[in-house]
Symmetry: C2
Subunit: 201 residues, 2 copies
């Protein structure tokens, strides 16, 4: 029904997450109607991001040089490392403005069912960073997702660190009711964790 | 917070319709994680569509040559022209498989408030097609949107055609309840049109 170039564009757009057939068509029609400059800017930005963005050699976050902007920032506290699953998880933590340390991106979570072993993640690299005498680490904050695989990954790393680097404090993000969350609508697991983690006021 | 190439990609993606800041970020992270081949294919399809797709010299639909596939198809009835606002409107009509004629894409709808006059649309080109003795037109189906501007455009063209080409039948798509539509939830204008257009069974 469509000319081949339009069909190809719809197919490629449809591979994006959350973009179904209808949305891909709508986006393609928009691009067809857009100015040549705008379309070229979009295509160029895709190319550029793949060409210029790699992984930080220290923490495996996205970086436009050998090191990411956080690892290159001398003002960030190298003594605290926040461990996240994906590079995309760095931004939500940064947005809280609560964390002044550095990051370590694992590249996923342990999942024996899916065949994801510690060797598939940047876990050995984390241990190396923590035990590096040149980069004295005081605390490792495990900020993997609050899912089965995220919890398993956090426990695995915590166990190993306790053994290998007993002086380093290992912490985990708190689980509990989301802010603004209604008790009535909370699932029992979340509510249970909120109880277990209750704090004296 | 993001490296400049990532920031540029998010900005460009955010210009797409229905793509807000969050979605643009999610799409950008997906592209960052995607294989270089997939990202290159997307960028290339955007470039290609702008390079190779133009407008049909007859009906102003999208075309990958001088004429669109429908105008180039000898089996399509040149005696019936379906007039639509945008090239994107051709596909929904094609999907009905109800229409075997050709199209004419106006490139918008008349809207004096927005400064869109008949000269800004391909209306003169439509009159020329209809009065062309080499392409004998029997019927013009006005399939502009069922909106104020779409209705105004249909009425304007109908008036002019009645005067200039009195032998040509001018029709308008029916207005009424959408199939599967509940009377209870129909707005009164749609319901009024459904009444006015009621048919003997």
């Amino acid at each position: 029904m469509y000319a081949p170039p339009i069909h190809r564009l719809i197919t490629e757009l449809g591979k994006l997450p959350g973009v179904g057939a209808r949305t891909a068509q709508r986006l393609a029609l928009h691009i067809l109607r857009a100015s040549p400059q705008d379309a070229a800017a979009l295509a160029e930005s895709i190319r550029e991001v793949k060409e210029r963005i790699g992984l930080c050699e220290v923490c495996f976050n996205f970086a436009d040089g050998p090191r990411c902007r956080i690892c290159a920032d001398e003002r960030r506290d190298a003594g605290v490392i926040c461990v996240v699953e994906e590079a995309g998880d760095v931004i939500p933590v940064e947005r809280t403005h609560e964390f002044q340390g550095r990051y370590h991106v694992l590249g996923g979570a342990l999942s024996p069912i899916d065949g994801v072993d510690p060797d598939d993640l940047k876990i050995a690299e984390l241990y190396r960073r923590v035990s590096d005498p040149g980069e004295p680490v005081r605390e490792v904050v495990l900020a993997t997702n609050s899912t089965t695989t995220g919890e398993a990954t956090a426990l695995h790393i915590a166990d190993t660190l306790r053994e290998r680097s007993p002086d380093v404090v290992v912490t985990r993000l708190a689980s509990g009711l989301p802010v603004g969350g209604d008790l009535e609508y909370a699932d029992e697991v979340t509510l249970g964790k909120a109880f277990a983690g209750r704090r004296r006021l």
